[in-house]
C-alpha cells in the first residue's frame, strides 16, 4: 500500500512510499513497521493529534488494513 506523510510529519518521513502489507493487520502495525529505528518519527505518528486516514476515511489505530490502498498521516492542519 501507499503511505503518505503530510506537513511536519512529511518533513521527517519524506515522500510517499510503498509499504508491504505482509504481516500487518492494523494501522498500529503499520506505524510499528514504519518507525523501526526512528524514535522521532514514532513519536510524531503516535502523537494524539496525528490523524490516520485510510482510503479517505479517518480511522483509529485498530482499523484493519485489509483491502486498503492508501494510508496517510496528518498532523494538525494549519488551515489556509
Amino acid at each position: 500500500m501507499k503511505v503518505v506523510f503530510l506537513g511536519r510529519i512529511g518533513e521527517r518521513a519524506g515522500p510517499p512510499r510503498e509499504l508491504s502489507e505482509e504481516g500487518l493487520v492494523t494501522v498500529a502495525d503499520a506505524v510499528e513497521r514504519l518507525t523501526v529505528e526512528d524514535d522521532e518519527l514514532a513519536s510524531l505518528l503516535r502523537a494524539p493529534s496525528t490523524v490516520y486516514v485510510l482510503d479517505d476515511r479517518v480511522v483509529k489505530g485498530d482499523a484493519a488494513l485489509e483491502g486498503a490502498s492508501e494510508l496517510a498521516f496528518l498532523p494538525p492542519v494549519s488551515g489556509g
Partner: protein, 147 residues
C-alpha cells in the same frame, strides 16, 4: 457553478472573479474575498495539501454552503506551494439571489478554510521557519457556524 481550484502558481483574482460572474444565472448578489499573504516579518509561506483528500473535504464544505444559503454559485481558488508577501493566497466568491446569503456564504467558507481545511502551512521569517497552526480566533470564528 461550483468550482474549486488549488493552483501551485500565482493567479489573478480579478480575472477569475469576472469569469465567475459571467457564468452566473439568476444571481442578485456576488460577494468575494481575496486573501493576501501578509508581510510584517514573513519572508514566505509554503502551503502543502493532501492531494484528493483536501479537494474532497473542501468540496463537502462547498456543497454544505450552497445548500445552507441557497447559493447560485461558489468559487474557491486557494494557492498551494510557495508564496511571498503581497501575493493573493485565496479567492472566495459566493453568489446568491439576495445579498445577505452571498455575504454569509463567503464568510462561512472563509472561516472554514482558515481553521479546518486540510492544508499545512510553513512560514519562513528572518529567524527561521515554523509550522503554523490556526489561532484561537480562527477556531472561534469557525464555531459561529456550528449548531
Amino acid at each position: 457553478m461550483i468550482e474549486l481550484r488549488l493552483p501551485a502558481a500565482p493567479f489573478e483574482p480579478e480575472e477569475a472573479l469576472e469569469r465567475f460572474r459571467r457564468s452566473l444565472q439568476d444571481a442578485g448578489g456576488l460577494v468575494s474575498f481575496t486573501g493576501i499573504v501578509r508581510g510584517g516579518g514573513t519572508k514566505s509561506l509554503t502551503l502543502s495539501h493532501y492531494e484528493g483528500y483536501t479537494e474532497r473535504r473542501i468540496g463537502e464544505l462547498m456543497q454544505d454552503a450552497v445548500r445552507r444559503f441557497g447559493l447560485n454559485g461558489l468559487l474557491i481558488i486557494h494557492r498551494i506551494g510557495r508564496m511571498v508577501p503581497g501575493e493573493p493566497i485565496v479567492l472566495v466568491a459566493a453568489a446568491a439571489p439576495h445579498r445577505r446569503e452571498a455575504f454569509k456564504g463567503a464568510d462561512m467558507v472563509m472561516d472554514y478554510l482558515k481553521s479546518a481545511a486540510p492544508f499545512w502551512k510553513k512560514e519562513e521569517t528572518a529567524e527561521g521557519s515554523r509550522w503554523v497552526e490556526p489561532t484561537a480566533r480562527d477556531i472561534e470564528d469557525r464555531e459561529r457556524w456550528t449548531g
